[in-house]
């Protein structure tokens, strides 16, 4: 059942590094992260990799496998030919700390720039009443496991360091959409989405949607509707005002 696979893993720290070749045992049903763990236990004890749940729920083990952003724990070895050399490298958009571990603090900084959920002052805990159909849109976005692969793959920042200060990235533009579509959120998020968080940079190439391990339709369901809301607002402020006033009438 088992076989020897050829792995090429990026190793290095402090801005320097190289691809290192390994030959490593693979057993039935294993995923790439299992093989990385076997490398740690048998050949490279200090090989750095982030991981946590190993069940596709925490979004820690994001890496680039043969150049594609993937979760190591959800990439089965059976999707490769046994003779294939599998190349594993760190996420390209973020600075490498060591081996497969990158500095993802950019994302936490962006998270803090998005104004938080803002409920009306007069609704007390326990009094919230929402229909399932009204929460489902935002619920889709809350499936996000923050693997940051959409941030990694987005061409606005993947090879354009200069855009980072002005662009929140798909994950956090989606967060704005999530809050904007929350039945009880009263903050005005449209103008800031465009002016402060860089929604206009997105030209809907859907790279983010394609890599999302949770299959969230980031572009179609979050970014495009958000762009439409921004446009509506710009062209017709009265429509926006009306929608805010009547939003919670049932």
């Amino acid at each position: 059942m088992g076989y020897k696979a050829k792995f090429r893993v990026w190793r290095g720290e402090g801005g320097e590094g190289r691809l290192e070749d390994f030959t490593v045992e693979v057993n039935e049903g294993e995923v790439v992260l299992d093989v990385i763990h076997r490398l740690q236990a048998t050949q490279a004890p200090d090989l750095a990799v982030r991981w946590n749940c190993k069940a596709g729920k925490c979004g820690s083990c994001s890496m680039e496998i043969n150049g594609k952003p993937r979760l190591g724990c959800m990439t089965r070895m059976s999707t490769f030919e046994e003779s294939e050399t599998i190349t594993v490298t760190p996420l390209r958009t973020f600075p490498v700390i060591k081996d497969l571990v990158t500095d993802v603090s950019f994302n936490y900084q962006k998270a803090r720039e998005i104004p938080s959920f803002t409920p009306p002052a007069d609704v007390k805990p326990g009094e919230y009443r929402m229909q399932q159909v009204d929460v489902e849109r935002s619920q889709e976005f809350r499936k996000c496991i923050e693997c940051f692969m959409c941030q990694n793959v987005c061409h606005v920042i993947r090879d354009h360091e200069e855009n980072k200060p002005n662009f929140a990235g798909p994950r956090y533009l989606m967060r704005i959409a999530e809050l904007d579509m929350h039945p009880y959120d009263v903050a005005d998020r449209k103008e800031s989405a465009q002016e402060e968080h860089g929604l206009g940079y997105c030209n809907i190439t859907k790279c983010c949607t394609e890599v999302c391990p949770e299959h969230i339709k980031i572009t179609d369901n979050a970014l495009i509707p958000m762009k439409e809301r921004v446009v509506d607002r710009k062209y017709d402020p009265l429509v926006w005002l009306g929608s805010k006033i009547f939003k919670r009438q049932r």
């Binding site: 299992d34 069940a55 820690s60 803090r112 809350r142």
Partner: protein, 628 residues
Amino acid sequence: MERHEYDVVVIGAGGAGLRAAIEARQQGKRTAIVCKSLFGKAHTVMAEGGAAAAMGNVNSSDNWMVHFRDTMRGGKFLNNWRMAELHAKEAPDRVWELEAWGALFDRTKDGKISQRNFGGHEYPRLAHVGDRTGLELIRTLQQRVVALQQEDEKLHGDPEAYIKVFAECTVTRLLKDGDAISGAFGYWRETGDFIVFDAPAVVLATGGIGKSYVVTSNSWEYTGDGHALALLAGARLINMEFIQFHPTGMVWPPSVRGILVTESVRGDGGVLRNSEGRRFMFDYIPDVFKDKYATTEEEADRWYDDQANNRRPPELLPRDEVARAINAEVKAGRGSPQGGVFLDVSTRLPAAEITRRLPSMHHQFKELADVDITKEPMQVGPTCHYVMGGVEVDADTGAASVPGLFAAGEVSGGMHGSNRLGGNSLSDLLVFGRRAGAGAAAYVDGLAKRPAVTGLDEAQTEALAPLERSGGENPYEVHHELQRTMNDLVGIIRKSEEISEALQVIEKLKERAKNTASSGSRIYNPGWHLAIDLRNMLLVSECVAKAALLREESRGGHTRDDYPGMSAEWRRRLLVCSAKPDGTSITVEEDVQPSMRGDLISLFERSELEKYLTEEELAEYDAAVKES
């Protein structure tokens, strides 16, 4: 060395840790959150089914008293009753509060928070979001922390003025000034540099110990850090013999063995079958639950639509019962091809309904096992899931016996007795996370002066030792042997000889662990990190094995092949673990379980209590009932 001064340091950023930190910050305390992973990645994200809270949204007969009774029954009456009481009373407020912080739970038709059925809960009680409730909870708390930081930025010009997250930072020692806590010592995983926190109060919220077992639903973080830190600081652990083996973990392929299959599958209609196609749980209803569970498939199936006139399906017995039943079926040769049993929801619900209610299970089986759960059954078997035991705390404040030390969530002990009900952990960590945060804040308010940090040199020497040795033991090998030992010898079914054998192995592993060598630099070096974690896993494993050897009965998450019965005498006894002053080994002593308060014990029928209590306790019950 990098040093920081805080009022409260919370170790762990899962649900309990974040809720504690939020509370401490809301009470005006300068609060640090220290966690081994990135912010938002904690093990809580893996909780699937929901948070149990008697809101009565789906069945209005539910209330805190019913929840309290269910919790005590689930724990086979070994629970700290005051914790079970506070938990049942406060869980609804804690869930509603999350909603005000932005959580989006699934809804009922009238727009309230929907609640689902779960094992051991009399009414539909679990607030949920599909089968990813833990993620919703962690994200909501994470975003609440961010909201507080945004507030602080407005007020003080610094988002981290009052609450700061130290991510990928591991604490290896608690520091003391005399008897009291004075801070914590640790290292940054990224750089290997040391860090010291000067703080009069520390809240442990480090979760569990599953990484001492091979087959587990737990993540790498679950190395018993908080349990061990508490022991080494002089605190006591209780109930360490009780470990929950979740009945349904994946069994195939081997690399995913142990990954959790949510109890919601059964709550929403899934059934367990053996290789003969029999719904075997009907054969395993224990006497104490006889009148509460259906005896025929027809009645069990009717219950999903009409709970008033039918009894629950036995698939929804508490987890310990179901896990033992699966174990017995597999041992009797009636298991599935890969050594589990069949869990089938495909013949019970329409495909669209399955993908709506159980999206992540559908995804998980499809991606990892090539199984489409809308078309075929899953294969499942028990997996090490949760430790009921932990730091002995004061129910109201989360305070441990060491001044300045607090604990909440899985690392604390008592709340769940000998077995935790599904859904009671998310509510536990909210209720007691908040209480521990408040307890720590009040403790700091009462101090005349700040304690001084001591013991830094020793802590530093200890942490560096594996890097300074060359040619020593491979920490990965020591870890694997510990996992195999605990799995095989102190697992779901235990006997005296095997536990004794495990203890001998643990002694040898302790020696080997002292001699581990980690190659490479201090920068993000997992081999070094594991060598440090081994100390904790070994201490905790010794507690589990020693307590398991002493408790000569079977109850909840502790099943002794050589003592299969439940004993009322043993119910009155708590096993308390503490470390010898030099930290080299564990001693276990017996303590008496305090009697339940009169108004609480009166919530039960005498006929039920007779199954659990001694004659002496029943006399107390009679007196309490007469008085009320």
